[in-house]
Symmetry: C2
Subunit: 193 residues, 2 copies
Amino acid sequence: MNFLEERIQKDGIIKEGNVLKVDSFLNHQMDINLFNKMGEEFKNRFKDANINKILTIEASGIGIACIVAQHFNVPVVFAKKTKSINIDGEMYIAEVESFTHKCKNQVIVSKKFINENDNVLIIDDFLANGHALQGLLSIVNDAGATVGGIGIAIEKGFQSGGTIIRNLGYKLESLAIVDSMDHITGKINFREQ
Amino acid sequence: MNFLEERIQKDGIIKEGNVLKVDSFLNHQMDINLFNKMGEEFKNRFKDANINKILTIEASGIGIACIVAQHFNVPVVFAKKTKSINIDGEMYIAEVESFTHKCKNQVIVSKKFINENDNVLIIDDFLANGHALQGLLSIVNDAGATVGGIGIAIEKGFQSGGTIIRNLGYKLESLAIVDSMDHITGKINFREQ
């Protein structure tokens, strides 16, 4: 097991219905030292990708993206999930459905902050059905920018998002891929990588 | 002018109705090197405060809070604005009104992540009417924790939030306080500190 898999096994809580709670270190309370290890690892996996910008989506992707960005020395852009009256001008908009929250959101990025010269690393905390990620990819493609890679902390390998994205030809790196988990024994099976 | 005031004057855009847009470096695209300078400055201003946790609120506070946290070597907790089905157990809940979005939100923090042993530094990107901040203070007080300080990137000094919070006796440090701005000339007047 790598450092993140060990942490998930130690501090993650499995709930019925394939829910994995990692809110003590990843997406409510955030362990910044852990995020820096993730940043080192993503830099290692994407070291030849010439990334010049990181794109993520609010809210829980932002912290990881900012710490990871230090390892690439690039700015971060976060996509917004609802139309804000403080965003004006032209925007890229993608409609995505959230598995967790059972609702549709618009994913929005100002056209000022992504363009055809950008080579983007997309960062997010979770990948399950991949709807949010599909929205981000749609926006990068609309902008004429390049997807230099996709870095995910935890992928739920028993849901279809990762397979679809890899089938589409993207370089997707997940630091931990959960193939199955048992809420009674607490045992998590991680995919060998 | 300090480094943040200079950046605001250079890249901020003033819109009619006292709207200050800093989305090119602070709250949509994020300049991580700038955030590190802010982290150094907050560490300097709160160096004797014995902070053990940083609390912020989604979404645009998270990036700053995570980078600032490295300068204090503490974890970050971000308050959520809507009830998520992935948060269970007991929660601290405060109701706050957003000036920008003209709506009410519940601010929520799990009781697991803040308690009476915590000495909390609250970090956020903007302070205007201070409603979000009041919600965070309410939660820290509910938890029996201590407010070790409040660090804000940009305070709108012509709105009442900062005055109220200082009147309440909190140590509030804003890196830039905008006392007035003119959307025609583009001139911003910063408060001497």
